[in-house]
Amino acid sequence: MHIPDSFMPLSQALIYWAIALPFIFMSLRWARRDMDEMKIPILAALSAGIFAIQALNIPIGMGTSGHMVGAALVAIIFGSPFAGVLVLTLVLLVQGIIFADGGITVMGANILNMGVISGSIGYYGFVALRKRNIDIKASAFIGAWLGLFISSIAAAIEMSLAGTFPLVPGIVAMGTFHFVIGIIGEGLITAIAIGAIAKARPDLVDDKAVEASKEVTL
């Protein structure tokens, strides 16, 4: 879903930078407040893991492939969507500048789609399901899948505003492909990762938001 520079006029690309920048600043503020010496290795591990897995495109049929985004996974582990924004911003910067994967002028839109939208929907979806006592892996799967799917619809709308795709065929094509990519690439891998971490290091999966809400309702 990495939009290249040629897919969007500069004037519009700058608007998405203007929207993305406050989220990037808030993610840095989150890091200053919530990160500590203990958590730095986790942030570094997740950044490296997500960069690597984004290089692994999985075939989904229809002559198309896709890969995990990972913002939801990061947000769930750190208990904040801003963690996902921070990691995806770093990953997209390296991908765009060093590897020409995703544009430079259009990077704000990519950070908005993959960092902010997919991570936030993934995280709040996960929390909402956990509050209803849905299994942790199922919650991670559904949240992450929905986050990726919705972010692809956002990208389709942006492509339509940019004049690159017509609106409806764009939403249909992007939605169809990412519905499937979201199941395999995002939902499944996020659920497996969360399940493995919750088992090996239950202290690391930050369920604070869920626990707090349960106490309130009791």
Partner: protein
């Protein structure tokens, strides 16, 4: 360092390096969701035109490859990216908390 999370870092790093080495062989070369949508909606010709449009900057390792180095170059490129992003996020964390 007695940080127990360093063990997690080593485990995930090992996994990430393994993926980085295998990705050039395992990754599908089919277009991704956005490219595939573009190809189908706006036609191959216009899509190719957009794809080949000049990038805003010259990247040192475009498409996760090193010119003339084939699969080995791809492995090196992705491994460098994986280790680089690890160093950047570790460094950023240290700077923010310093």
């Amino acid at each position: 360092m007695s940080n127990p999370n360093m063990k997690l870092l080593y485990v995930v790093l090992a996994l990430a390096i393994l993926i980085s080495i295998l990705a050039p062989f395992l990754a599908s070369s089919d277009p991704d969701g956005l490219e595939s949508a573009a190809e189908k909606i706006i036609g191959e010709e216009r899509f190719t035109e957009l794809e080949e449009a000049e990038a805003a900057i010259d990247s040192p390792m475009p498409d996760y490859s090193i010119e003339g180095k084939g699969k080995l170059g791809e492995i090196i490129a992705i491994c460098l990216g994986t280790i680089g992003i690890l160093a950047i996020s570790f460094g950023l964390g240290k700077i923010i908390k310093a």
